[in-house]
Amino acid sequence: MYFLADNIISPLGNTTEQNYRAVEAGRSALRHYPAADAAVLGGCPAETFPKDNVSSEPYVAARFSAEQFHDIEINGLTRFEALAARSARQAIDQAGIDVSAPNVVFVLSTTKANIDNLRTGEEPDETFIPSVAAEHIATYLGFTTKPLVVCNACISGVAAIITTKRLLDAGFFDHAVVCGADVLGRFFLSGFQSLKALSPDECRPFDIERIGLNLGEAAATIVFSTSRSRFRVECGAIRNDAFHISSPSKNGEGAYLALQAIQAETFHDDLSFINAHGTATMFNDQMEAVAISRAGLSDVPVNGLKGFFGHTMGAAGILETIMSKEALDHGQILATRGFEETGTSVTLNLASVNRTASNKRFIKMISGFGGGNAAVLVHREDEEGISFAKIDHSECKINTLHHIIVNSHTVTLDQEPITCHDCGQNLLVELYKQNIRDYPKFYKMDPLCRLGLVASDLLLQAESDIPQAVIIFNHSSSSQADRSFWATVSDPNESFPSPAHFVYTLPNIVAGEIAMRHGIHGETSFYILPDRDEHFINKIVNSICREKDFVNALVGWIDYPDDEHYLADLSYINKA
């Protein structure tokens, strides 16, 4: 899969070129913002928040100014949608492809999309659901195929690139527009504040004095193609820590396994650099340093870009891949702004200032909530006439070994009904008490995770071999957890954002919980679709099964729109 065109819109500029020049010159988008008056925040609908001031505590972030947002606005689209649409439009125009063709797909990478449209206690409004936003954007841009949302917390951007590569390699599409975006509102800020993850000053990735991250808003788009160009995504991997839903593993297990997987796929000693996640939290950077060292890559130059853009969440993996690709093209390794003195237990070859480099490959790595880690290897091909192994478009054969359906009234395992008496959310508690009992963490989970845990436990009781990967699809994202968390934030008199509720507002946590429960260190992925389109789901599953090292997986639909209409429809599959 090849890069055809790209774009970055951040507070530093509206094109890849502008952003690259700004970072090369050492300019950062991070600014200090004061706390807003509590009375202003309490219970206000999101659109009435002062745009630059939505937090009860002072904070540092990379935000668009009111003027910049004014320029981004598109009639009929939300701020988030307009930002993504503008970035995608620029990249599409540059690529010169016709997006109305049936061989082009739109892939949106986001963590929370239009989350500030969420209201509690009012008429159902689905615009806060990421697939609804994706449809708005895709329609505006003129796509005729259905959009795919990759919602895998902070690793979404790199996970979207990997997912797209598989779909193109499998021959399902010829071009893909992969866009990552997120905007900052009160939902995000209060959530990260409740996790005590934000630094009150500009972040310092990998530095001894780092104390937390800064959030940022941006959109970044890459148009990928099966047609040859100078930059190619060689391979990628997603692996899970199976350790904790919000803390990275102490030995960097998932990140190490992801790095190992891409080295096993294609080992090269001509790596120019590794672009790390480098959020500047104590645990993330330490974990990455351990993982890089375990993978035998401690000598390779490492950099991190959060000191320029902040953590741009759903955009991060795509934005940082584009910046790294540009750096490779310019023969440079960009500086890690904020880094001065090693603050990790193993010493990395950190680029503290811009360096020149001549090698032709880089690795982009990333980690996030739900225990997910991902890495991709990108190659600049200068030599003419290199031929690659022809891509095999034949579909792989998949066996379904076990199958479970759990809805609000019935449970069916391998076509046999399981007797139960309760219904709605009580049914899940009944199933837990009858069949599991030894995992009290169940009671801490949001409804989506409870459903996923119970269904996967029942399914895996029928199978002694633990699956290697967990691939989940749904429509409603984490809507129940979104509402519960928002209820702890939006009370005008009693705003106490709950960290335990916030972590479950990332829907991929359900895949992470299943991985943790069963010790699954392979891929965990979460996709949101406009509807339950089996044809599209099969394409994605099929493209995953075509991976060389694929053995078996737990795949299916886990959706919890409300207590009456939830559904888990999961299969345990292997490659025939």
């Binding site: 409740s194 996790l195 005590k196 904790h244 839903i245 919000s246 803390s247 009290p440 009671y443 801490k444 009693e494 106490f496 954002p497 709950s498 960290p499 335990a500 972590v503």
Partner: protein
């Protein structure tokens, strides 16, 4: 103090969703983390929210929490010394 201890236990059970537990199940001097109730880093953060919401005590740093949440006895002493509501 007895009353405060019982109230703290009830609050902990509620905010941390310790289903099937009663205040009597939690010992006053047993560690809350690690081998005790098996609480984790998100639970620490949730207890920090509880301290502010119920007792008006603001803790800036999660590391402080680790000391204060050593046991129910330590928590009760800290709350009675520092509470503002």
């Amino acid at each position: 103090m007895e009353e405060l201890i019982k109230e703290i236990k009830t609050n902990i059970i509620e905010v941390l969703n310790l289903e099937d537990m009663t205040p009597e199940d939690i010992e006053n001097d047993a560690p809350l983390f690690g081998e005790g109730l098996g609480l984790d880093s998100i639970d620490v953060l949730e207890l920090i929210v509880m301290m502010e919401k119920e007792y008006g005590i603001k803790l800036k740093n999660p590391a402080e929490g680790k000391e204060i949440f050593k046991s129910i006895n330590v928590m009760a002493q800290y709350i009675s010394d520092h509470r503002t509501k």
